[in-house]
């Protein structure tokens, strides 16, 4: 099947054999058109999982499949069908919005008129066209994130991975971004995996995977949202409310 399949992925960091695995038999899938929230407190293994999903490193065992392509057997086909928004900003601050887009297009083998068309379509989708000539350093955090999402969609991927993409954004920008990506999944049939530790970014109809200590401890449809989901999540992981809802914790 298409979309994203993660099957029994286990990973242990080198030199840490006395520690429990960073990921232990993690399995779940995201269908086309589905928004899947990967929820887990800090240290749950989300970043390790993203490292494996994006082939930064290979898992000790298990299988990852992107749009029907196995990441270990056909990594280039799998990567070509995947768009990624990393937790860290990956934009070139000294270049303009437009140059950043064309650089990415070149990396994906899109050139000339096709590159310009793909870039302007992707920017248009995220309402960023008018900022094309601005230097990325001059953009605010929200616009930079939108640009990264636009860029990740330029090569028309079938799977979109986002690793805590709302870190450092204000509440309104965060809400807008969450709504926008939900709409993208619905409208364009993208399989979206959205890693977060903030329960207010999850909608009731979203698929939900809860990761804790490197294991999937719950999988299904979110159904609950807001404080209800927070309470449920707390019961599962025993975390702190502030961390999960994005509220400031007392110092």
């Amino acid at each position: 099947m298409a979309g994203l399949v993660v099957d029994k992925v286990t990973h242990l960091y080198a030199g840490r054999s006395d520690h429990p695995p960073a990921l232990d038999q993690v399995s779940f899938s995201v269908d086309p058109g589905q928004f899947c929230a990967l929820l887990g407190p800090n240290g749950a293994g989300k970043s390790t999982l993203f490292g494996i999903l994006t082939r930064l490193f290979a898992p000790k065992s298990g299988r990852v499949e992107v749009a029907g392509h196995d990441m270990s057997r056909a990594p280039l086909k799998a990567l070509a069908r995947m768009g990624v928004v990393f937790q860290q900003p990956t934009l070139d601050l000294e270049l303009t919005v437009w140059r950043n887009m064309l650089y990415f297009a070149g990396l994906h083998g899109i050139t000339g008129r096709a590159a310009k068309l793909a870039a302007s379509e992707a920017l248009d989708r995220l309402a960023m066209v008018e900022r094309g000539s601005e230097r990325v350093r001059d953009l605010n955090g929200g616009h930079r994130r939108r640009l990264e999402i636009a860029r990740a969609l330029m090569h028309r991927p079938e799977v979109l991975l986002l690793d805590e993409p709302t870190v450092g954004l204000d509440a309104q920008t965060r809400a807008d971004l969450v709504a926008h990506v939900h709409q993208l999944a619905r409208d364009s049939g993208l399989a979206v995996l959205w890693a977060t530790h903030l329960t207010d970014e999850v909608h009731a109809q979203d698929a939900l995977v809860v990761l804790h200590w490197g294991r999937v401890i719950e999988r299904g449809v979110a159904e609950q949202v807001g404080p209800e989901l927070t309470q449920h999540f707390l019961a599962l992981t025993g975390g702190l409310t502030g961390e999960l809802t994005g509220e400031r914790q007392p110092a």
Binding site: L56, V84, A105, G106, G109
Partner: protein
């Protein structure tokens, strides 16, 4: 156009845009060798006597002797600057963007290497122009012949830089490694003094200078400027490129231990 070529052009274009956007970097890269040429060389000329050794056919001034070494110095420092940018890219995340490109890793790293080498050679060419204005000139064909020699030397130090960048986790560590790599590599080479001069000082130093691949990189440039070539220098420099690149690819292999290490 092939996807491979498109990616190479995109990576070279980005490096060029970044480089020309930072004029201070260009000036800094030139100030260092020009200081050596205008200040140190003047002092050393009095202290050092040079005999006639290949490729030279007549007595030359010390300034003339060190020009190829200073070209290699530009390549060395710029090559390390490129690998420093790889460590920064990794800290910044842009390296991850590159590594998720659907092309083989060996190609992506080769593109990075070639892009860095092109920028380095451009700087060395500007330096040679300044030398010409100062009065140290070579034959027109000598300049043309020096281009592939400088490019090869740039590839060698660039590949070493990429290999080092795969093992270095933070910018702070990088500064330490630079001191242990750049300075010994430069000072224990034929860039500033001929090999026979080293033999007079110490046999051990002579051996270190003789096996230092950077010495052979410097000599390929020196000989090329006089339209000559020593096959041993070329062979050792090419072999060093291959070994350093193999180490770099191993360092960035997704299945390897350090790539899966918690950062």
């Amino acid at each position: 156009m092939s996807h491979y070529v498109t990616a190479l052009i995109a990576i070279c274009h980005r490096e060029a845009l970044r480089f020309f956007g930072q004029r201070a970097r260009m000036i800094a890269a030139l100030v260092r060798p020009l200081m050596w040429l205008f200040v140190f060389a003047a002092g050393f000329r009095a202290a050092l006597g040079l005999s006639i050794t290949p490729p030279y056919e007549t007595y030359i001034s010390y300034e003339t002797y060190i020009v190829p070494g200073l070209c290699a110095m530009i390549l060395l420092f710029n090559g390390m600057q490129s690998s420093l940018s790889l460590v920064m890219d990794r800290e910044m995340g842009t390296m991850r963007l590159l590594l998720t490109t659907p092309l083989p890793r060996w190609w992506l790293l080769s593109c990075k290497l070639v892009a860095g080498a092109v920028i380095s050679v451009l700087q060395a060419v500007v330096f040679l122009e300044i030398c010409a204005v100062y009065g140290i000139r070579f034959s027109p064909m000598g300049y043309v012949a020096a281009l592939p020699a400088m490019f090869l030397c740039a590839l060698m130090v660039g590949a070493l830089g990429i290999a080092l960048s795969s093992t270095i986790r933070s910018l702070e560590n990088f500064a330490g490694v630079m001191n242990f790599v750049i300075f010994p590599m430069f000072f224990l080479s034929t860039a500033l003094y001929p090999l026979w001069k080293m033999a007079e000082a110490s046999e051990l130093l002579w051996w270190i200078c003789a096996i230092n691949p950077f010495s052979h990189g410097v000599e390929t440039i020196r000989f090329a400027l006089y339209l000559k070539a020593d096959p041993v220098d070329w062979a050792i420099t090419v072999a060093a490129v291959a070994v350093f690149m193999a180490l770099a690819l191993w360092g960035y292999d997704p299945g390897k231990r350090t790539m899966g290490r918690k950062g």
